[in-house]
Subunit: 110 residues, 2 copies
Amino acid sequence: MARGDRSALPGGTAMLVLALLQEREMYGYEIIEELEKRSDQVFQMKEGTLYPVLHSLEKEKLVTARDQEAPSGRKRRYYRVTAAGLQALEAKKEEWQVYARAVTAILTNA
Amino acid sequence: MARGDRSALPGGTAMLVLALLQEREMYGYEIIEELEKRSDQVFQMKEGTLYPVLHSLEKEKLVTARDQEAPSGRKRRYYRVTAAGLQALEAKKEEWQVYARAVTAILTNA
DNA sequence: ATAATATACCTAGATAATCTAGGTATAAGG
DNA sequence: CCTTATACCTAGATTATCTAGGTATATTAT
């Protein structure tokens, strides 16, 4: 549909991830669970989707990562959103709203 | 994200097309112009996206097509939504709303 | 004890939607 | 006459996501 950055649009995994991290740092597995819970089971993101997204967000410096052991003993990789990440989030949210408004305009047409 | 029919979701070209055809029959080029106009320039669907979608909608019997010459003399192919198409539209709209609500829930989180 | 499930990370290759970039042909406008 | 707009089309590239694996440790059930 030629609207530039498709990654900010539905299917916009990055936007959802950044939105969660805005609140607090989280590790991958936790992100999947939170998305599922907060979306009332609508989002069931696959690991094969999330982990590559996290890696590319890290490469773009929109998040930083650190390893930490859980009390249980399992290793977790926590992600924290950067200032650039917050900026990117705002841009993606705006794009989402433009897109959602446009869809609504078509669906509630004459 | 594993929600079954990805085609009903943003990027859901088929839903937008069916929504327009609900109103009246249209030809391909017209659909592109209408989407652009009604979305306030947000949707700028490419011909390479639309025509294949129209062909697959026709194969699925969600639309029917007929050729008609314009007063200008150019040949146009008009598409009309079928009863099955209207049903599909309702399903896609419902899916869209579930999806949009879920996104909103994440974006307006705690 | 041990088997199964849940947690936690990862990647390679397949699938599917959309775009790019062409092609054809006619009509209208400069 | 030449360019732009209209109007249709398709093949191949791109990209997001999924499938389907793999590894390893912790918890729960049998």
